[in-house]
Amino acid sequence: MISGAEIMVKCLEAEGVKVVFGYPGATICPFYDKLYDSEIKHVLVRQEQNAAHAASGFARCSGRPGVCVATSGPGATNLITGIATAYTDSIPLVAITGQVRSDLLGRDVFQEADITGACEPFVKHSYLVSRTEDLPRVFKEAFHIASTGRKGPVLIDIPMDIQLREIESFEYPDSVNIIGYKPNVKGHAVQVKRAVEAIRASRRPLIVAGGGVLSSGIKPKFRKFADTTRIPVISTMMGIGVMPSEHDMYLGMLGTHGKAVANRALYEADLVIVCGARLGDRAVAAPHQMSENNTVIHIDIDPAEIGKNVKTEIPIVGDMKNVLAMLNEEIGDYQVPNQWQEAVKAWKKDLYRVPPKFEGFVEPRSLVANLSSMLRSKAILVADVGQNQIWCANNFRIREGRFLTTGGMGTMGYSIPAAVGAKFARPTRDVVVVCGDGSFQMSLNELATIAGNGLAIKIIIMRNHRLGMVRELQDFNYKGRHSATILKGDPDFLKIAEAYGIDSAEANSNEEAEEILKGVVKSDKPFILVCNVYPDTPSI
């Protein structure tokens, strides 16, 4: 005989899961008891939201769904923000929650929360398991749904009696058959032909690369395509890292907080090839304007994204991997007209300007710009939300590594737990967090997870004593009335670091900051660098 809880563990093992992030409680205890005997590593976070963020960081760096676990009621509701973040950012997660006994469902007993109901708008799919026998099929489907098509979180809610009940035997299915779920990954040959004709006919084609290029795992092939065709590339926030920053045909991030030259290129292009991006309002503030000026080819695995925000002349539904291969085949040795290449090269010179310094402070944009050269080429930079995120997005010189941030949901507090997940996925890579003093305090509890697991994560706090990005918004739109954006009563972050047993230092100039960083970035211990930043430093 085998219990539901043991089956849950065996399902995870069958999926090749090595690490899960979670927080226990009564209704998930049967599972935790069985997990105790398993090889799977459990990482105890300090709040459930961070279990989901850590699973997200893990998923993005490993290419496999991240797994997070919580108990029923408050444990499950704490997960929601993390699940919603993964949903908006299209990150594959499997979230497992305990639930009260099935005969008590709906009676509002202790720690009962309708989590499948509450998560409805934020999950790709969810299950409230009603029979122990269903567990293997449900897990198989959950991993399949999370990691195929447009990726996203799947929730499995499992009542305690289902975990405790014993059944005859366990067998993990080797295939799934969900009649309503057959994502179209292939790419339509005729549409690809039309796209290539349009590219050939255009004088100023431009690629807008989004997170979809990264999640389909084809960065090298994509770079090769851009290299051979010489089609210039700009990226969305989720697409940063698709191209190396220094590439002569790459013009940075578009959007309200993006690079002027990227927006300029978008405006001047006569053909825009959107690759795995949804073009939200922060990326293209006036989508109708965009499509007035140019023809749009939109390649996306999610048909619902095509035509949603931007009018599209040539839609191609499919996995970037397959569509890119077809495009490559069809396009032969095509190259972009010289004139357009020259225009892009000229703009490229304006991509990175050296911002003015403020005496006695660290200039955050310059620091981020120099950060890459101190790290190994595959380094992972995790940015939080706010000005710190924009400073990173626009100035980090990415090479072979990753840039992780939540571009879709913009959840403050994402960076530290996501870095924890990233470090578990890629223990040999440099993992650096950049956050604000506000966002740091949203997840500083996870310093315990970092210390407890000896994770060599370097955290750079850009301290401006402000909720900087909102402060800036108030300066622009609310007559500079700083309502609730000045941080008062903050603790001494160095003492916080010390309390967690993490080495730390403070810097008041870029020279000082870089000197300190050079000494610690490659060490195998965590480190916190507090950079005092001039409070009125702009985002761009």
Partner: protein, 163 residues
């Protein structure tokens, strides 16, 4: 623009809330919704009648297709489908008006299925516009209650929606 969607779904708990949630989340009202199991007991068919412009309808169709237990979504073409709705109307009916009301029902081919000293109940099964005509005709007598099943619809001829 009014449109009719025919949706095949896996017959399981929670599907209806997923589907109605897609509408409510976007602030769209559903004019009518009817659900019933099909000839395959694992599959239910939902018929939704709602209003929206072309962009909204296309978005909804695509979003509906993303719901995992949704098997198929079809927008029925105006004029190319048969639709029916069953309605029960309880009408205020003093003895003096009885003959008139019975006549009205007869003209519309509706049935009187119950009567009491001061009211009658009319049953009617027709397309949406004829149902509305009957309601308009009975309004002057004083309608006490209306119960409607919501519209169900099927393609004309051999066209159809199947798994």
């Amino acid at each position: 623009m009014q449109y009719t969607l025919s949706i095949l779904v896996e017959n399981q708990a929670g599907v209806l809330s997923k589907i109605s949630g897609l509408f409510s989340r976007r602030g769209f009202n559903i004019d009518s919704l009817a659900v019933g199991v099909t000839n395959d007991p694992r599959v239910s068919r939902i018929t939704i009648v709602a209003n929206g412009d072309e962009y909204v309808i296309e978005q909804l169709e695509k979003q509906l297709n993303k719901v995992i237990p949704v098997i198929k979504v079809k927008r029925l073409t105006e004029g190319a489908f048969i639709s029916r709705e069953l309605i029960l109307i309880k009408v205020h009916c003093p003895a003096a008006k009885r003959a008139e009301i019975i006549k009205t029902a007869e003209i519309m081919q509706a049935k009187i299925v119950d009567a009491a000293p001061n009211c009658v109940t009319v049953e009617y099964c027709e397309c949406n516009s004829r149902v509305n005509t009957l309601i308009d005709l009975l309004k002057p007598y004083g309608i006490r209650e209306i119960v409607r099943t919501g519209t169900i619809a099927i393609d004309r001829g051999s066209a159809g929606v199947s798994v």
